[in-house]
């Protein structure tokens, strides 16, 4: 007979900021077996199922953050990008196969979203601060990977182009398209292309 957990095995969360940070942490923990270089994890099964749910969770976190529009919780985009680039490399998603096409598309979409958010948000660390340098390194690694990933995948190429070309040119000119209330221009025309692509990638995975 299976015993139900006692009342002592439950906990509650009260504050949205803790919910948000905990979501990010749990995703990081779930990603660990998928990105670890330890060969002991190579025997894990059902990778694709875990990876799909993890990518969906990351997407939900970013969408929730954009709804929260709070300065008190900022997704650690650089950290998420590092995890995604490790995931893509570790799971060999740059090699296009029939079985990994959805994973490849979804992970690249997510990576492009994170790059865009990192570039456009006012909280992006500047200059020579240690946080700024690390964020820029993460961004560069992500962009290099995306440049390889879009080859042979038109849908991904279109999405990345619509999301990043304009944002990167803004960054290179030293300007940011920030509206008066502190939010980025992601709320205007580029968002429609992003939402449509998000939905199409989600439909593929269902």
């Amino acid at each position: 007979m299976t015993r139900q957990p006692s009342q002592h095995a439950f906990y509650s969360l009260r504050y949205p900021t803790q919910m948000f940070r905990q979501a990010v942490s749990i995703c990081t923990i779930l990603a660990y077996p998928l990105i670890s270089s330890d060969s002991i994890f190579e025997g894990y099964s059902s990778f694709s199922e875990d990876l799909l749910s993890l990518l969906d969770a990351w997407l939900d976190i970013i969408q929730v953050y954009r709804r929260l529009s709070s300065d008190s919780v900022v997704p650690p985009y650089a950290r998420i990008m590092d995890i995604l680039t490790s995931l893509i490399h570790r799971q060999n998603l740059l090699t296009v196969t029939t079985s990994n096409s959805i994973l490849r598309e979804k992970s690249c979409v997510l990576l492009a979203l994170c790059c865009s958010e990192l570039i456009l948000k006012p909280q992006m660390p500047d200059g020579d601060s240690s946080g700024g340098l690390e964020a820029r390194k993460s961004l560069c690694r992500a962009l290099i990977l995306l440049a390889s990933a879009v080859k042979g995948c038109e849908a991904t190429k279109r999405f990345v182009a619509s999301k990043l070309i304009h944002d990167l040119s803004t960054l290179s000119m030293g300007k940011r398209q920030v509206s008066g209330d502190g939010h980025s221009s992601l709320d205007t025309s580029p968002a429609s292309a992003e939402t449509e692509s998000d939905l199409s990638v989600r439909r593929h995975s269902q």
């Binding site: 957990p5 095995a9 919910m19 923990i29 330890d38 002991i40 894990y44 875990d50 709804r67 929260l68």
Partner: protein
Amino acid sequence: MADSFGQRDGAYAHRLLGSDAENAVPPASTLAAQLVENLSSSSKLAKSEENRELDGFLQTIQRVADNPELLKTTNERIEHNHMISYVYTRAALDGIKLEDPVLNPNRVRNDALKAINFLRFSIKETPSLLNYKTTGQGFLFRGGEPLWVWLVPRLLRLLGHEKCEDLQGSIEGFLQYLQLTAARHGSLWGFAASFAHYLRATLSSKVLQALATLHF
């Protein structure tokens, strides 16, 4: 070959206290007693029944520390490690009252880190501790669930809280260590699947759904 409980805990306790230890460090049983004593003096464990329970366990822990040969089998060692883990968790983690306006963040960090380090050590020594179940009696704050089902929510309660920011890396690291331990021991592969399922369910049902219902 039975390890000397005192020697093992001496080396472990030295790592816990770090370079600040001036003299020979006390064994883990004494560390547990110090934790309970500290919490009792600060009235965090005001209920006498809880104190009686922990005092009873500490006597058992001390008895074994004085005479390690009392533990003859692996199961007895697991049972004993479970008891110490319960004491540590109750004294250090459950004693953290996040709503306390005068909560000392340094005390929180130090107590939690000691508990996490001790749990990591115990799990390394007896990995099957993670799946240990009690009979449902004998532990005031424990049911019949596997230890990990009881323990993990106590860490998740702290994870991401603004008063526990310093603990984020340690808690994440500990939970990742559980995954690594499960991967290294075939007897824990069932735990690995259950643990991943638990984290995914927690993420989707507790966290993301709750955030999705918030209106701004």
